[in-house]
């Protein structure tokens, strides 16, 4: 077996058995990165020497017979919206082109504590705004399954890196689908945790009531190991929460799975529908009770999302003003510093969203747009609350279609936004969802979205693992 085919647990066993060293493993992955990056472009920066240093630390521990954790020696990649101390963190933007992270994000600190090895930072749509990674200010990332197509976004670099065997796992972030959709497009597993399950400290904020950091990996088991490492209450993030650590025993034989009619409408591509319906049938055969349910406010979710997220983003991006860090343009007065730094530093999608959000929050429009959207959000959340009184899990497609061609939607913002139609309701409700690869439309991966009630990631992982076995 090739070194890049091992799961986290397998790597752990092999390292303990001294079948290979962490340095050899990292060297192998760095070699793949060197080869694949010419085609894929998943990484914005690779930190070879640092990675090898970290590997040596793990190897020394093993040599000394010290205990090492599951993640020790496992090479990973981090989305470039998440701070890794001493490394550049650009958020895919020119306004942070030369910004160096002064501290580690909490999720990164947790990974480092366990001895995971950071290979580099991955590409994303600028400030995590987009659905294809095409809005990165720096480069295009290509889908490893088809180089003419997008990897999805905004965690496209992370998803592509895992799919192309450039790392064992990656961290991404999800605001409206940015882990789940690229995971689906690239055929890897991706989790958007419950809002509050993972600390957002050190994640460059897009929309503070929606953002979550989450894992991407080849298997559900790997995702679970990473999630268990990064989850938990953090005093630096007042919105984070501890989770109940009691064990659950979920089996397909005794669960109720809800299928919301609103997610299987006209816009769903034929082959995607067939694949998802096939999985539902298999779950049913394995004993699950399948129930048709309705999430009646689903059709309003996208409009709601593009008011809520852009309003929050307009506030969060106000800090990029050329004053304390980042691009600072030559100017005659203070106002010009702001206008020119932001005008030059932000790309078109970011400007569009800041404008939309600023408008929605402005005097005379605030009630009709922002407040109204937040009220519709309550109704969307209530749909899920009611559904979870009837069922334990909800199955839907992640995306109405598989990976689209590079350039196909870039000139039509609204068309691009419609890519997120099946993922944004989940974000608005704050519930957890996993994207599991369940089939292919030709050569293009298709993902199943497994949704559950708040803080039931454990249940989701169990169901996903059982599905992995029967697919």
């Amino acid at each position: 077996m090739e070194l890049h085919q091992f799961s986290i647990k397998q790597i752990h066993q092999h390292l303990l058995q001294k079948d290979f060293s962490a340095r050899e493993l990292v060297g192998h992955y760095l070699g793949i990165i060197k080869k694949e990056e010419l085609k894929i472009g998943a990484f914005l920066s690779v930190s070879d020497s640092l990675a090898l240093e970290q590997a040596d630390v793990v190897d020394e521990k093993i040599k000394q017979g010290q205990e090492i954790s599951w993640l020790a020696g496992a090479p990973c990649a981090i989305k470039d919206a998440i701070l890794v101390e001493g490394q550049k963190c650009t958020a895919g933007s020119r306004i942070l082109e030369n910004y160096f992270a002064p501290y580690d994000a909490t999720c990164v600190a947790e990974l480092k504590k366990q001895g995971a090895i950071i290979l580099g930072k991955t590409n994303l749509d600028e400030f995590a705004m987009g659905s294809s990674t095409e809005h990165s200010a720096f480069q295009i990332t290509r889908n490893p399954h088809d180089l003419t197509r997008v990897p999805g976004g905004t965690s496209g670099g992370s998803a592509a890196a895992v799919a192309a065997n450039e790392c064992v796992f990656a961290l991404g972030s999800d605001t409206g689908g940015s882990i789940r959709q690229p995971a689906s497009f690239c055929g890897v597993v991706g989790l958007k945790p419950t809002y509050g399950a993972v600390s957002r400290y050190g994640l460059i904020a897009h929309a503070s009531s929606l953002d979550q950091v989450g894992p991407l990996a080849k298997t559900t088991e790997d995702c679970q190991i990473i999630f268990n490492t990064i989850k938990g209450k953090d005093e630096n993030d007042a919105t984070s929460a501890d989770m109940d650590n009691s064990s659950v025993n979920i089996d397909l034989k005794n669960v109720k799975i809800g299928i919301p009619q609103e997610y299987f409408g006209e816009g769903l591509e034929k082959e995607t529908r067939a694949i998802i319906e096939g999985v539902i049938k298999k779950a049913q055969k394995a004993g699950a009770e399948i129930r048709k349910i309705s999430l009646p406010h689903s059709k309003y979710a996208l409009a709601c999302y593009y008011l809520v997220s852009t309003s929050e983003a307009s506030a969060n991006l106000a800090r990029f003003d050329g004053i304390k860090y980042g691009l600072s343009q030559e100017a005659n007065d203070l106002a010009e510093v702001y206008l020119k730094s932001r005008g030059h530093g932000f790309g078109s999608e970011v400007k569009r969203r800041i404008m939309l959000g600023t408008f929605a929050l402005s005097s005379g429009y605030y009630e009709a747009f922002y407040t109204k959207a937040q009220k519709v959000r309550t109704l969307i959340k209530q749909d899920f609350d009611k559904a979870f009184e009837q069922v334990d899990f909800i199955f839907t497609p992640v995306s109405p279609f598989p990976a689209f061609k590079i350039g196909e939607k870039i000139d039509d913002p609204l068309k691009m936004y419609l890519s997120d139609i099946l993922t944004v309701p989940i974000s608005l409700a704050g519930v957890p969802a996993l994207s599991l690869p369940v089939g292919k439309d030709g050569h293009l991966p298709v993902g199943l979205q497994i949704i559950s009630r708040p803080f039931n990631e454990k249940g989701i992982f169990q169901i996903a693992q059982q599905l992995e076995k029967i697919l």
């Binding site: 509050g196 309003y300 409009a303 206008l339 569009r352 937040q374 519709v376």
Partner: protein, 95 residues
């Protein structure tokens, strides 16, 4: 709803310098997006409270005490000041 004047006002509020071409394009795009979000007019929210946070949250405070500062982190932050004078962050005059 979105006319040139509104675009100019919003851009000023957002502290964004836009070229003429950008302004025209954004006017068109925002109009299209706002036409789409008009869908929300269908929803009766008269009996509904807004859901601002991602989950049930309440405000938290801590004691107003200086906690330990990491001098190294402070220095890393200062090293990235676009304009510095001594230990101060230098900015254009406000008045």
């Amino acid at each position: 709803m979105i006319d040139k004047k509104l675009v100019e006002n919003v851009a000023r509020l957002a502290r964004l310098e836009l070229s003429d071409a950008e302004r025209t394009k954004i006017q068109r795009e925002l109009s299209a997006i706002l036409d789409y979000v008009a869908l929300l007019n269908e929803v009766d929210v008269s009996a509904v409270a807004p859901f601002y946070a991602g989950r049930d949250l309440f405000n938290v405070t801590r004691a107003d005490q200086v906690t330990d500062r990491d001098e190294q982190v402070t220095q890393k932050i200062k090293n990235q000041f676009p304009h510095q004078e001594g230990t101060f962050l230098k900015v254009k005059e406000i008045f």
